[in-house]
Protein backbone atom coordinates (compact mmCIF):
# COMPACT_ATOMS: atom_id res chain seq x y z
CA UNK A 1 0.00 0.00 0.00
CA UNK A 2 2.13 2.86 -1.25
CA UNK A 3 -0.63 5.34 -1.80
CA UNK A 4 -1.50 7.50 1.15
CA UNK A 5 -4.81 6.59 2.65
CA UNK A 6 -6.69 8.03 5.58
CA UNK A 7 -10.23 9.17 6.25
CA UNK A 8 -9.39 12.74 5.25
CA UNK A 9 -7.26 12.04 2.21
CA UNK A 10 -9.89 9.57 0.99
CA UNK A 11 -12.65 12.13 1.39
CA UNK A 12 -10.55 14.76 -0.37
CA UNK A 13 -9.90 12.42 -3.25
CA UNK A 14 -13.64 11.77 -3.63
CA UNK A 15 -14.38 15.48 -3.41
CA UNK A 16 -12.02 16.54 -6.19
CA UNK A 17 -13.59 13.92 -8.46
CA UNK A 18 -16.91 15.71 -8.09
CA UNK A 19 -16.78 18.41 -10.79
CA UNK A 20 -19.84 20.27 -9.59
CA UNK A 21 -18.44 20.55 -6.08
CA UNK A 22 -15.05 21.70 -7.30
CA UNK A 23 -16.69 24.27 -9.56
CA UNK A 24 -18.78 25.42 -6.63
CA UNK A 25 -15.72 25.83 -4.45
CA UNK A 26 -14.02 27.75 -7.28
CA UNK A 27 -16.93 30.13 -7.76
CA UNK A 28 -17.19 30.82 -4.03
CA UNK A 29 -13.46 31.49 -3.90
CA UNK A 30 -13.59 33.83 -6.91
CA UNK A 31 -16.64 35.76 -5.66
CA UNK A 32 -15.10 36.08 -2.19
CA UNK A 33 -11.81 37.20 -3.68
CA UNK A 34 -13.47 39.81 -5.90
CA UNK A 35 -15.60 41.22 -3.09
CA UNK A 36 -12.72 41.63 -0.68
CA UNK A 37 -9.82 42.46 -3.01
CA UNK A 38 -11.26 44.61 -5.78
CA UNK A 39 -12.63 47.55 -3.76
CA UNK A 40 -9.32 48.37 -2.04
CA UNK A 41 -7.29 47.64 -5.19
CA UNK A 42 -9.37 49.83 -7.48
CA UNK A 43 -10.08 52.38 -4.80
CA UNK A 44 -13.82 51.88 -5.16
CA UNK A 45 -16.05 53.73 -2.74
CA UNK A 46 -19.66 52.65 -2.30
CA UNK A 47 -20.63 55.85 -0.48
CA UNK A 48 -19.55 58.72 -2.76
CA UNK A 49 -22.70 60.31 -4.20
CA UNK A 50 -22.91 62.24 -7.45
CA UNK A 51 -26.48 63.28 -8.36
CA UNK A 52 -25.44 64.33 -11.86
CA UNK A 53 -24.86 60.71 -12.87
CA UNK A 54 -27.80 59.16 -11.05
CA UNK A 55 -29.34 56.00 -12.54
CA UNK A 56 -26.70 55.59 -15.18
CA UNK A 57 -26.96 52.23 -16.97
CA UNK A 58 -23.87 50.00 -17.13
CA UNK A 59 -21.23 51.51 -19.36
CA UNK A 60 -17.69 52.82 -19.68
CA UNK A 61 -17.38 55.09 -16.61
CA UNK A 62 -19.28 52.88 -14.23
CA UNK A 63 -19.03 49.29 -15.31
CA UNK A 64 -22.21 48.17 -13.57
CA UNK A 65 -23.97 51.53 -13.68
CA UNK A 66 -24.94 53.82 -10.83
CA UNK A 67 -27.82 53.95 -8.41
CA UNK A 68 -30.33 56.71 -7.66
CA UNK A 69 -27.77 58.82 -5.81
CA UNK A 70 -25.11 58.36 -8.45
CA UNK A 71 -23.07 55.92 -6.40
CA UNK A 72 -20.89 53.46 -8.31
CA UNK A 73 -22.88 50.23 -8.41
CA UNK A 74 -19.83 47.98 -8.84
CA UNK A 75 -18.49 49.27 -5.55
CA UNK A 76 -21.83 48.80 -3.85
CA UNK A 77 -22.32 45.26 -5.11
CA UNK A 78 -18.83 44.20 -4.03
CA UNK A 79 -18.92 45.85 -0.61
CA UNK A 80 -22.44 44.50 -0.13
CA UNK A 81 -21.02 41.09 -0.93
CA UNK A 82 -18.44 41.53 1.80
CA UNK A 83 -21.21 41.96 4.35
CA UNK A 84 -23.28 39.06 3.09
CA UNK A 85 -20.35 36.65 3.00
CA UNK A 86 -18.96 37.84 6.30
CA UNK A 87 -22.27 37.33 8.05
CA UNK A 88 -22.71 33.99 6.34
CA UNK A 89 -19.36 32.67 7.48
CA UNK A 90 -19.26 34.29 10.91
CA UNK A 91 -22.74 33.13 11.90
CA UNK A 92 -21.86 29.67 10.64
CA UNK A 93 -18.67 29.53 12.67
CA UNK A 94 -20.60 30.66 15.74
CA UNK A 95 -23.33 28.08 15.14
CA UNK A 96 -20.72 25.35 14.63
CA UNK A 97 -18.86 26.18 17.84
CA UNK A 98 -21.98 26.45 19.96
CA UNK A 99 -23.85 23.60 18.27
CA UNK A 100 -20.95 21.15 18.38
CA UNK A 101 -20.16 21.80 22.03
CA UNK A 102 -23.79 21.71 23.07
CA UNK A 103 -24.56 18.60 21.03
CA UNK A 104 -21.42 16.78 22.16
CA UNK A 105 -22.10 17.40 25.85
CA UNK A 106 -25.75 16.44 25.49
CA UNK A 107 -25.05 13.27 23.56
CA UNK A 108 -22.05 12.17 25.60
CA UNK A 109 -23.60 12.50 29.03
CA UNK A 110 -27.02 11.38 27.90
CA UNK A 111 -29.78 10.59 30.38
CA UNK A 112 -31.30 13.44 32.32
CA UNK A 113 -28.76 16.01 31.07
CA UNK A 114 -29.50 15.10 27.47
CA UNK A 115 -33.22 15.26 28.16
CA UNK A 116 -33.08 18.78 29.58
CA UNK A 117 -30.65 20.10 26.98
CA UNK A 118 -32.62 18.75 24.05
CA UNK A 119 -35.96 19.99 25.39
CA UNK A 120 -34.40 23.45 25.50
CA UNK A 121 -33.44 23.08 21.85
CA UNK A 122 -36.97 21.92 21.03
CA UNK A 123 -38.31 24.95 22.82
CA UNK A 124 -36.12 27.33 20.80
CA UNK A 125 -37.15 25.50 17.64
CA UNK A 126 -40.73 26.06 18.60
CA UNK A 127 -40.38 29.82 18.97
CA UNK A 128 -40.93 31.36 15.53
CA UNK A 129 -37.44 32.42 14.52
CA UNK A 130 -38.65 35.62 12.85
CA UNK A 131 -40.05 36.63 16.19
CA UNK A 132 -36.71 35.94 17.87
CA UNK A 133 -34.76 37.75 15.22
CA UNK A 134 -37.00 40.80 15.20
CA UNK A 135 -36.83 40.93 18.98
CA UNK A 136 -33.04 40.89 18.96
CA UNK A 137 -32.89 43.46 16.18
CA UNK A 138 -35.15 45.76 18.15
CA UNK A 139 -33.07 45.32 21.29
CA UNK A 140 -29.98 46.32 19.42
CA UNK A 141 -31.48 48.85 17.09
CA UNK A 142 -30.82 51.98 19.11
CA UNK A 143 -27.20 51.32 19.82
CA UNK A 144 -26.12 49.63 16.67
CA UNK A 145 -28.20 50.50 13.65
CA UNK A 146 -26.56 49.22 10.52
CA UNK A 147 -24.02 47.30 12.53
CA UNK A 148 -23.81 43.66 11.39
CA UNK A 149 -23.43 42.37 14.96
CA UNK A 150 -27.12 42.04 15.92
CA UNK A 151 -27.98 40.32 12.65
CA UNK A 152 -25.09 38.02 13.21
CA UNK A 153 -26.15 37.22 16.77
CA UNK A 154 -29.74 36.66 15.71
CA UNK A 155 -28.82 34.32 12.86
CA UNK A 156 -26.25 32.40 14.87
CA UNK A 157 -28.85 31.91 17.56
CA UNK A 158 -31.22 30.28 15.09
CA UNK A 159 -28.71 28.19 13.18
CA UNK A 160 -26.90 26.37 16.00
CA UNK A 161 -29.99 24.36 16.87
CA UNK A 162 -29.79 22.04 13.87
CA UNK A 163 -26.05 21.63 14.35
CA UNK A 164 -26.57 20.67 18.00
CA UNK A 165 -29.14 18.05 17.03
CA UNK A 166 -26.98 16.56 14.32
CA UNK A 167 -23.90 16.37 16.54
CA UNK A 168 -25.87 15.02 19.49
CA UNK A 169 -27.27 12.21 17.36
CA UNK A 170 -23.81 11.27 16.14
CA UNK A 171 -22.22 11.41 19.58
CA UNK A 172 -25.03 9.30 20.99
CA UNK A 173 -24.00 6.41 18.79
CA UNK A 174 -20.26 7.10 18.90
CA UNK A 175 -20.07 7.00 22.68
CA UNK A 176 -21.16 3.35 22.59
CA UNK A 177 -18.37 2.40 20.22
CA UNK A 178 -15.57 0.29 21.61
CA UNK A 179 -12.82 2.76 20.89
CA UNK A 180 -14.44 5.15 23.31
CA UNK A 181 -14.42 2.44 25.97
CA UNK A 182 -10.82 1.72 24.98
CA UNK A 183 -9.89 5.36 25.51
CA UNK A 184 -11.57 5.39 28.91
CA UNK A 185 -9.78 2.16 29.76
CA UNK A 186 -6.53 3.97 29.13
CA UNK A 187 -7.54 6.50 31.74
CA UNK A 188 -8.75 9.31 29.49
CA UNK A 189 -11.21 11.68 31.19
CA UNK A 190 -14.50 12.91 29.73
CA UNK A 191 -12.94 16.04 28.27
CA UNK A 192 -10.23 14.10 26.51
CA UNK A 193 -12.64 11.45 25.27
CA UNK A 194 -14.97 14.06 23.80
CA UNK A 195 -12.37 16.23 22.15
CA UNK A 196 -9.76 13.73 21.08
CA UNK A 197 -11.74 10.62 20.38
CA UNK A 198 -15.30 11.55 19.55
CA UNK A 199 -15.17 14.91 17.82
CA UNK A 200 -12.76 13.86 15.03
CA UNK A 201 -15.44 11.34 14.05
CA UNK A 202 -18.00 14.12 13.82
CA UNK A 203 -15.77 16.54 11.91
CA UNK A 204 -16.89 15.29 8.52
CA UNK A 205 -20.59 15.73 9.06
CA UNK A 206 -20.02 19.06 10.80
CA UNK A 207 -18.11 20.31 7.77
CA UNK A 208 -20.98 19.26 5.53
CA UNK A 209 -23.66 20.92 7.62
CA UNK A 210 -21.47 23.93 8.18
CA UNK A 211 -21.03 24.40 4.44
CA UNK A 212 -24.77 24.13 3.94
CA UNK A 213 -25.39 26.57 6.78
CA UNK A 214 -23.49 29.38 5.05
CA UNK A 215 -25.97 29.76 2.19
CA UNK A 216 -28.86 29.34 4.61
CA UNK A 217 -27.56 32.22 6.69
CA UNK A 218 -26.89 34.39 3.65
CA UNK A 219 -30.40 33.94 2.33
CA UNK A 220 -31.86 34.56 5.76
CA UNK A 221 -29.88 37.76 6.06
CA UNK A 222 -31.03 38.86 2.60
CA UNK A 223 -34.56 38.14 3.60
CA UNK A 224 -34.19 40.25 6.74
CA UNK A 225 -32.61 43.05 4.71
CA UNK A 226 -35.43 42.83 2.23
CA UNK A 227 -37.85 43.35 5.09
CA UNK A 228 -35.82 46.34 6.20
CA UNK A 229 -34.43 44.61 9.28
CA UNK A 230 -31.00 44.02 7.86
CA UNK A 231 -27.70 45.79 7.86
CA UNK A 232 -26.56 48.88 6.03
CA UNK A 233 -25.25 47.37 2.86
CA UNK A 234 -25.63 43.79 1.71
CA UNK A 235 -26.89 41.95 -1.34
CA UNK A 236 -30.31 41.58 0.18
CA UNK A 237 -30.39 45.30 0.93
CA UNK A 238 -29.41 46.15 -2.66
CA UNK A 239 -32.13 43.91 -4.04
CA UNK A 240 -34.63 45.55 -1.71
CA UNK A 241 -33.61 49.03 -2.88
CA UNK A 242 -33.73 47.96 -6.51
CA UNK A 243 -37.20 46.52 -6.18
CA UNK A 244 -38.26 49.74 -4.46
CA UNK A 245 -37.43 51.90 -7.45
CA UNK A 246 -38.92 49.66 -10.10
CA UNK A 247 -41.74 51.54 -11.84
CA UNK A 248 -43.77 51.05 -15.02
CA UNK A 249 -41.75 53.59 -16.98
CA UNK A 250 -38.19 52.79 -16.01
CA UNK A 251 -37.05 49.53 -14.48
CA UNK A 252 -33.38 50.32 -13.69
CA UNK A 253 -32.84 46.63 -14.40
CA UNK A 254 -29.14 46.67 -13.50
CA UNK A 255 -29.89 47.57 -9.90
CA UNK A 256 -31.81 44.33 -9.53
CA UNK A 257 -29.76 42.16 -11.85
CA UNK A 258 -26.23 42.34 -10.42
CA UNK A 259 -26.88 41.60 -6.76
CA UNK A 260 -29.41 38.93 -7.71
CA UNK A 261 -26.95 37.17 -9.99
CA UNK A 262 -24.20 37.26 -7.38
CA UNK A 263 -26.52 36.11 -4.64
CA UNK A 264 -27.90 33.25 -6.72
CA UNK A 265 -24.51 32.03 -7.98
CA UNK A 266 -22.97 32.14 -4.53
CA UNK A 267 -25.85 30.26 -2.92
CA UNK A 268 -25.95 27.67 -5.67
CA UNK A 269 -22.19 27.14 -5.53
CA UNK A 270 -22.19 26.74 -1.78
CA UNK A 271 -24.97 24.18 -2.02
CA UNK A 272 -23.12 22.24 -4.71
CA UNK A 273 -20.03 22.29 -2.55
CA UNK A 274 -22.00 21.10 0.48
CA UNK A 275 -23.60 18.26 -1.47
CA UNK A 276 -20.21 17.26 -2.83
CA UNK A 277 -18.76 17.27 0.66
CA UNK A 278 -21.57 15.11 1.93
CA UNK A 279 -20.94 12.53 -0.77
CA UNK A 280 -17.20 12.68 -0.12
CA UNK A 281 -17.48 12.31 3.64
CA UNK A 282 -20.12 9.62 3.58
CA UNK A 283 -20.08 7.85 0.21
CA UNK A 284 -22.65 5.34 1.40
CA UNK A 285 -25.30 8.01 1.87
CA UNK A 286 -25.46 8.55 -1.88
CA UNK A 287 -28.68 7.40 -3.46
Amino acid sequence: MTEKSGPWTDAYRRLVKNRLAVAGAGVVAVVTGLCFLLPPLLGLDPATTNPSIAHQPPGAGHLLGTDGLGRDYLARVLVGGQTSLLIGFAATVASVVVGVLYGAVSGYYGGRIDEVMMRFVDFLYGVPYMFLVILIMLLFSETARGNPLPVFVALGLVEWLTMARVVRGQVLTLREREFVLAARLLGAGDFRVIFRHILPNVAGIVTVYGTLTVPAVIILESFLSFLGLGVKLSWGQLVAEAVGVVNPIRSYWWLLLWPSILLATTLLSLNFLGDGLRDAVDPKARR
Binding site: M1, S5, G6, P7, G110, G111, R177, E178, F179, L181, A182, A183, R184, L185, L186, G187, A188, G189, R192, R196, H197, P200, N201, A203
Partner: protein
Protein backbone atom coordinates in the same frame (compact mmCIF):
# COMPACT_ATOMS: atom_id res chain seq x y z
CA UNK B 1 3.48 -26.02 28.36
CA UNK B 2 2.61 -23.65 31.15
CA UNK B 3 3.91 -24.67 34.51
CA UNK B 4 2.05 -24.77 37.74
CA UNK B 5 1.18 -21.39 39.21
CA UNK B 6 4.19 -20.13 41.11
CA UNK B 7 2.90 -17.89 43.87
CA UNK B 8 5.89 -15.53 44.03
CA UNK B 9 4.30 -13.02 46.30
CA UNK B 10 2.58 -13.62 49.57
CA UNK B 11 0.04 -10.86 48.99
CA UNK B 12 -1.79 -11.21 45.71
CA UNK B 13 -1.68 -8.40 43.15
CA UNK B 14 -5.44 -8.26 42.90
CA UNK B 15 -7.95 -9.80 45.17
CA UNK B 16 -11.63 -9.55 44.46
CA UNK B 17 -13.71 -10.13 47.54
CA UNK B 18 -17.40 -10.86 47.47
CA UNK B 19 -17.97 -8.71 44.40
CA UNK B 20 -21.56 -8.23 43.28
CA UNK B 21 -22.61 -6.21 40.26
CA UNK B 22 -26.13 -5.29 39.23
CA UNK B 23 -27.71 -3.87 36.15
CA UNK B 24 -30.93 -1.93 36.37
CA UNK B 25 -32.78 -2.75 33.17
CA UNK B 26 -36.35 -1.57 32.64
CA UNK B 27 -36.91 -1.32 36.36
CA UNK B 28 -35.73 -4.86 36.99
CA UNK B 29 -32.50 -5.65 38.77
CA UNK B 30 -30.29 -8.09 36.94
CA UNK B 31 -27.58 -9.58 39.13
CA UNK B 32 -24.79 -10.04 36.64
CA UNK B 33 -22.13 -10.89 39.20
CA UNK B 34 -23.02 -12.48 42.53
CA UNK B 35 -20.55 -12.76 45.42
CA UNK B 36 -17.51 -13.42 43.31
CA UNK B 37 -14.16 -13.80 45.09
CA UNK B 38 -10.80 -14.65 43.61
CA UNK B 39 -7.25 -13.42 43.62
CA UNK B 40 -4.38 -13.27 41.19
CA UNK B 41 -0.68 -13.10 41.94
CA UNK B 42 2.09 -11.42 40.00
CA UNK B 43 2.95 -13.18 36.76
CA UNK B 44 -0.13 -15.36 36.98
CA UNK B 45 -2.65 -16.03 34.26
CA UNK B 46 -6.18 -16.67 35.43
CA UNK B 47 -8.78 -17.89 32.97
CA UNK B 48 -12.33 -16.70 33.54
CA UNK B 49 -14.54 -19.15 31.67
CA UNK B 50 -18.25 -19.38 31.05
CA UNK B 51 -20.91 -19.09 28.38
CA UNK B 52 -22.41 -15.80 27.18
CA UNK B 53 -24.08 -13.89 29.97
CA UNK B 54 -22.32 -15.76 32.74
CA UNK B 55 -20.93 -12.52 34.13
CA UNK B 56 -17.32 -12.93 33.10
CA UNK B 57 -17.07 -9.68 31.15
CA UNK B 58 -19.07 -7.84 33.80
CA UNK B 59 -16.49 -8.99 36.34
CA UNK B 60 -13.67 -7.53 34.22
CA UNK B 61 -15.48 -4.25 33.73
CA UNK B 62 -16.36 -4.06 37.44
CA UNK B 63 -12.69 -4.26 38.37
CA UNK B 64 -12.01 -1.17 36.25
CA UNK B 65 -15.32 0.43 37.18
CA UNK B 66 -16.29 0.96 33.57
CA UNK B 67 -19.68 -0.69 33.63
CA UNK B 68 -22.31 0.70 31.31
CA UNK B 69 -24.42 3.36 32.96
CA UNK B 70 -27.16 0.88 33.94
CA UNK B 71 -24.62 -1.10 35.92
CA UNK B 72 -23.22 -0.58 39.37
CA UNK B 73 -21.11 -2.44 41.89
CA UNK B 74 -23.59 -3.52 44.54
CA UNK B 75 -21.12 -4.84 47.06
CA UNK B 76 -17.72 -6.27 47.77
CA UNK B 77 -14.16 -5.08 47.49
CA UNK B 78 -11.64 -4.99 44.69
CA UNK B 79 -8.26 -4.85 46.39
CA UNK B 80 -5.51 -3.96 43.98
CA UNK B 81 -2.03 -3.47 45.42
CA UNK B 82 -3.72 -2.86 48.75
CA UNK B 83 -6.24 -0.25 47.56
CA UNK B 84 -9.97 -0.86 47.27
CA UNK B 85 -10.76 0.17 43.71
CA UNK B 86 -14.49 0.00 44.38
CA UNK B 87 -14.18 3.02 46.65
CA UNK B 88 -11.46 4.99 44.86
CA UNK B 89 -12.42 8.49 43.70
CA UNK B 90 -12.95 8.71 39.94
CA UNK B 91 -9.85 10.89 39.40
CA UNK B 92 -7.59 8.32 41.08
CA UNK B 93 -9.38 5.55 39.23
CA UNK B 94 -8.37 7.18 35.96
CA UNK B 95 -4.72 6.86 36.98
CA UNK B 96 -5.26 3.15 37.58
CA UNK B 97 -6.91 2.57 34.20
CA UNK B 98 -4.28 2.15 31.55
CA UNK B 99 -1.56 2.87 34.08
CA UNK B 100 -1.76 -0.01 36.56
CA UNK B 101 -4.49 -2.13 34.97
CA UNK B 102 -5.09 -2.30 31.25
CA UNK B 103 -7.76 -4.05 29.27
CA UNK B 104 -8.11 -5.30 25.73
CA UNK B 105 -11.20 -6.71 24.15
CA UNK B 106 -12.63 -8.97 21.60
CA UNK B 107 -13.00 -6.93 18.52
CA UNK B 108 -9.84 -5.16 17.42
CA UNK B 109 -11.80 -3.83 14.45
CA UNK B 110 -13.90 -1.49 16.51
CA UNK B 111 -11.51 -0.80 19.38
CA UNK B 112 -9.34 1.52 17.35
CA UNK B 113 -10.64 4.93 16.38
CA UNK B 114 -10.98 5.06 12.59
CA UNK B 115 -10.24 8.79 12.51
CA UNK B 116 -7.00 8.75 14.49
CA UNK B 117 -3.61 7.63 13.33
CA UNK B 118 -2.59 4.44 15.10
CA UNK B 119 0.33 6.14 16.83
CA UNK B 120 -1.85 8.84 18.31
CA UNK B 121 -4.06 6.32 20.06
CA UNK B 122 -1.18 4.18 21.14
CA UNK B 123 0.78 7.09 22.53
CA UNK B 124 -2.09 8.23 24.73
CA UNK B 125 -1.27 6.06 27.73
CA UNK B 126 2.33 7.28 27.62
CA UNK B 127 1.19 10.89 27.76
CA UNK B 128 -1.46 10.24 30.41
CA UNK B 129 0.42 7.92 32.73
CA UNK B 130 4.14 8.18 32.16
CA UNK B 131 4.22 11.94 31.65
CA UNK B 132 5.99 11.55 28.33
CA UNK B 133 5.95 14.21 25.64
CA UNK B 134 3.79 13.28 22.68
CA UNK B 135 6.91 12.70 20.60
CA UNK B 136 8.52 10.40 23.10
CA UNK B 137 5.27 8.52 23.64
CA UNK B 138 4.99 7.92 19.90
CA UNK B 139 8.56 6.59 19.81
CA UNK B 140 7.71 4.32 22.74
CA UNK B 141 4.56 3.16 20.94
CA UNK B 142 6.49 2.31 17.80
CA UNK B 143 9.04 0.33 19.84
CA UNK B 144 6.20 -1.60 21.50
CA UNK B 145 4.51 -2.25 18.17
CA UNK B 146 7.78 -3.77 17.01
CA UNK B 147 7.94 -5.80 20.21
CA UNK B 148 4.47 -7.27 19.73
CA UNK B 149 5.42 -8.26 16.23
CA UNK B 150 3.89 -5.70 13.91
CA UNK B 151 6.09 -5.57 10.83
CA UNK B 152 7.18 -2.18 9.54
CA UNK B 153 6.05 -0.66 12.82
CA UNK B 154 6.87 2.99 12.25
CA UNK B 155 5.00 3.06 8.97
CA UNK B 156 2.01 1.23 10.47
CA UNK B 157 1.96 3.59 13.40
CA UNK B 158 1.73 6.52 11.06
CA UNK B 159 -1.21 5.00 9.19
CA UNK B 160 -4.83 4.44 10.09
CA UNK B 161 -6.40 1.30 11.62
CA UNK B 162 -8.22 0.32 8.42
CA UNK B 163 -4.88 -0.34 6.79
CA UNK B 164 -4.09 -3.15 9.22
CA UNK B 165 -5.31 -6.74 9.37
CA UNK B 166 -7.28 -8.10 12.32
CA UNK B 167 -4.30 -9.81 13.87
CA UNK B 168 -2.18 -6.71 13.51
CA UNK B 169 -4.88 -4.61 15.14
CA UNK B 170 -5.09 -6.95 18.09
CA UNK B 171 -1.32 -6.66 18.41
CA UNK B 172 -1.68 -2.90 18.27
CA UNK B 173 -4.32 -3.08 21.01
CA UNK B 174 -1.93 -5.11 23.15
CA UNK B 175 0.82 -2.58 22.52
CA UNK B 176 -1.60 0.20 23.47
CA UNK B 177 -2.48 -1.62 26.68
CA UNK B 178 1.16 -2.20 27.59
CA UNK B 179 2.40 1.33 27.00
CA UNK B 180 1.32 2.57 30.42
CA UNK B 181 3.36 -0.27 31.97
CA UNK B 182 0.44 -1.96 33.74
CA UNK B 183 0.97 -4.87 36.10
CA UNK B 184 -2.40 -6.43 35.32
CA UNK B 185 -3.95 -7.01 31.91
CA UNK B 186 -7.60 -7.94 31.58
CA UNK B 187 -8.03 -9.60 28.21
CA UNK B 188 -11.71 -9.97 27.31
CA UNK B 189 -11.98 -12.58 24.57
CA UNK B 190 -8.76 -11.34 22.94
CA UNK B 191 -8.66 -14.05 20.29
CA UNK B 192 -12.32 -14.70 19.57
CA UNK B 193 -12.48 -12.50 16.47
CA UNK B 194 -9.26 -13.87 15.01
CA UNK B 195 -8.68 -16.94 12.91
CA UNK B 196 -6.95 -19.91 14.47
CA UNK B 197 -3.38 -19.35 13.32
CA UNK B 198 -3.43 -15.72 14.41
CA UNK B 199 -5.07 -16.82 17.65
CA UNK B 200 -2.08 -19.02 18.44
CA UNK B 201 0.32 -16.18 17.69
CA UNK B 202 -1.51 -13.80 20.00
CA UNK B 203 -1.52 -16.37 22.80
CA UNK B 204 2.21 -16.93 22.31
CA UNK B 205 2.71 -13.20 22.53
CA UNK B 206 0.72 -12.97 25.75
CA UNK B 207 2.71 -15.84 27.23
CA UNK B 208 5.99 -14.15 26.32
CA UNK B 209 4.84 -10.91 27.91
CA UNK B 210 3.90 -12.73 31.09
CA UNK B 211 7.34 -14.28 31.27
CA UNK B 212 9.20 -11.17 30.23
CA UNK B 213 7.48 -8.54 32.36
CA UNK B 214 5.90 -10.50 35.14
CA UNK B 215 2.56 -9.32 33.80
CA UNK B 216 -0.56 -10.78 35.39
CA UNK B 217 -3.40 -11.61 33.04
CA UNK B 218 -7.08 -12.19 33.61
CA UNK B 219 -8.20 -13.95 30.48
CA UNK B 220 -11.92 -13.78 29.91
CA UNK B 221 -13.04 -16.35 27.39
CA UNK B 222 -15.56 -18.99 26.50
CA UNK B 223 -12.91 -20.99 24.71
CA UNK B 224 -11.55 -23.79 26.87
CA UNK B 225 -8.81 -24.43 24.34
CA UNK B 226 -7.42 -20.95 24.88
CA UNK B 227 -7.52 -21.40 28.63
CA UNK B 228 -5.78 -24.75 28.41
CA UNK B 229 -3.00 -23.11 26.40
CA UNK B 230 -2.13 -20.33 28.73
CA UNK B 231 -3.93 -20.16 32.09
CA UNK B 232 -2.45 -21.20 35.42
CA UNK B 233 -5.77 -21.17 37.20
CA UNK B 234 -9.35 -21.33 36.05
CA UNK B 235 -12.51 -19.75 37.36
CA UNK B 236 -15.62 -21.25 35.85
CA UNK B 237 -18.58 -18.89 36.02
CA UNK B 238 -22.24 -19.68 35.62
CA UNK B 239 -25.19 -17.33 36.14
CA UNK B 240 -22.94 -14.67 37.67
CA UNK B 241 -21.41 -17.08 40.16
CA UNK B 242 -18.15 -18.91 40.36
CA UNK B 243 -19.04 -22.59 40.21
CA UNK B 244 -15.57 -24.05 40.16
CA UNK B 245 -11.97 -22.94 40.60
CA UNK B 246 -8.66 -24.69 40.58
CA UNK B 247 -5.46 -25.08 38.65
CA UNK B 248 -6.10 -25.16 34.92
CA UNK B 249 -4.74 -28.63 34.51
CA UNK B 250 -6.81 -30.14 37.30
CA UNK B 251 -10.05 -28.49 36.34
CA UNK B 252 -9.71 -29.38 32.68
CA UNK B 253 -8.69 -32.98 33.23
CA UNK B 254 -10.92 -33.74 36.19
CA UNK B 255 -13.81 -31.33 36.60
CA UNK B 256 -15.68 -31.37 39.90
CA UNK B 257 -18.74 -29.47 38.74
CA UNK B 258 -21.25 -30.86 36.22
CA UNK B 259 -21.30 -27.52 34.41
CA UNK B 260 -17.55 -27.65 33.77
CA UNK B 261 -17.97 -31.20 32.62
CA UNK B 262 -20.73 -30.21 30.19
CA UNK B 263 -18.61 -27.35 28.90
CA UNK B 264 -15.72 -29.71 28.26
CA UNK B 265 -18.00 -32.16 26.52
CA UNK B 266 -19.27 -29.50 24.14
CA UNK B 267 -15.78 -28.74 22.85
CA UNK B 268 -15.30 -30.40 19.47
CA UNK B 269 -12.44 -32.89 19.55
CA UNK B 270 -10.40 -34.42 16.81
CA UNK B 271 -9.50 -37.58 18.69
CA UNK B 272 -13.05 -38.66 19.27
CA UNK B 273 -15.51 -39.64 16.64
CA UNK B 274 -18.93 -38.20 17.28
CA UNK B 275 -21.78 -37.68 14.87
CA UNK B 276 -23.23 -34.83 16.87
CA UNK B 277 -21.54 -32.15 18.88
CA UNK B 278 -22.82 -32.21 22.42
CA UNK B 279 -24.48 -29.13 23.79
CA UNK B 280 -25.94 -28.18 27.14
CA UNK B 281 -29.71 -28.43 27.05
CA UNK B 282 -31.83 -25.55 28.27
CA UNK B 283 -31.00 -21.94 28.99
CA UNK B 284 -29.14 -20.24 31.83
CA UNK B 285 -31.54 -18.92 34.51
CA UNK B 286 -32.85 -15.38 34.29
CA UNK B 287 -30.74 -13.29 36.57
CA UNK B 288 -33.50 -10.83 37.42
CA UNK B 289 -35.32 -13.64 39.27
CA UNK B 290 -33.24 -14.06 42.37
CA UNK B 291 -32.44 -15.08 44.98
CA UNK B 292 -32.34 -18.70 43.96
CA UNK B 293 -33.66 -21.44 46.18
CA UNK B 294 -31.99 -24.23 44.26
CA UNK B 295 -28.70 -24.79 42.50
CA UNK B 296 -28.72 -22.41 39.49
CA UNK B 297 -27.53 -25.19 37.23
CA UNK B 298 -30.02 -27.77 38.47
CA UNK B 299 -32.56 -27.32 35.63
CA UNK B 300 -29.90 -28.17 33.04
CA UNK B 301 -27.78 -30.54 35.04
CA UNK B 302 -27.48 -34.13 33.73
CA UNK B 303 -26.61 -35.34 37.24
CA UNK B 304 -29.32 -33.49 39.10
CA UNK B 305 -30.80 -35.17 42.18
CA UNK B 306 -33.09 -34.51 45.11
CA UNK B 307 -30.72 -32.42 47.26
CA UNK B 308 -29.90 -30.01 44.42
CA UNK B 309 -33.36 -28.43 44.65
CA UNK B 310 -33.19 -27.83 48.37
CA UNK B 311 -30.90 -24.82 48.39
CA UNK B 312 -28.11 -23.24 46.40
CA UNK B 313 -24.84 -24.99 47.30
CA UNK B 314 -21.95 -22.93 48.68
CA UNK B 315 -18.62 -22.60 46.98
CA UNK B 316 -16.71 -25.08 49.09
CA UNK B 317 -13.58 -27.25 48.97
CA UNK B 318 -14.14 -30.47 47.11
CA UNK B 319 -12.63 -32.51 49.88
CA UNK B 320 -10.84 -32.09 53.19
CA UNK B 321 -7.40 -32.19 51.57
CA UNK B 322 -8.45 -30.37 48.42
CA UNK B 323 -7.74 -26.71 47.64
CA UNK B 324 -10.12 -26.72 44.74
CA UNK B 325 -13.49 -25.12 45.24
CA UNK B 326 -16.76 -26.02 43.61
CA UNK B 327 -20.40 -25.16 44.05
CA UNK B 328 -21.98 -28.61 43.99
CA UNK B 329 -23.21 -31.16 46.48
CA UNK B 330 -22.01 -34.16 44.52
CA UNK B 331 -18.83 -35.92 45.55
CA UNK B 332 -15.96 -35.31 43.08
CA UNK B 333 -16.00 -38.94 42.04
CA UNK B 334 -19.63 -38.73 41.04
CA UNK B 335 -18.89 -35.91 38.60
CA UNK B 336 -15.58 -36.95 37.10
CA UNK B 337 -15.75 -38.92 33.92
Amino acid sequence: MTGEAPERDATPLLSVEDLSTEYAIDGRVVRAVTHVSFSIGRGQVVGLVGESGSGKSATGLSILRLLPREGRIAGGRVLFEGTDLAKLPEADMRRVRGGRIAMIFQDPMTSLNPYLRVEEQLAEAGVLHLGLSHRKAVAEAVALLERVGVPDASKRAHGYPHEMSGGMRQRAMIAMALLGKPSLLIADEPTTALDVTIQAQILDLLRELVRERGLSVILVTHDLGVVAEIADRILVMYAGRIVETGSAREVLTRPFHPYTLSLLRSVPRLDRRASRLESIAGMPPRLDRGPFTECTFAPRCPLVREGCRAREPDLAPAGPDDRRLRRCILAPDEVAR
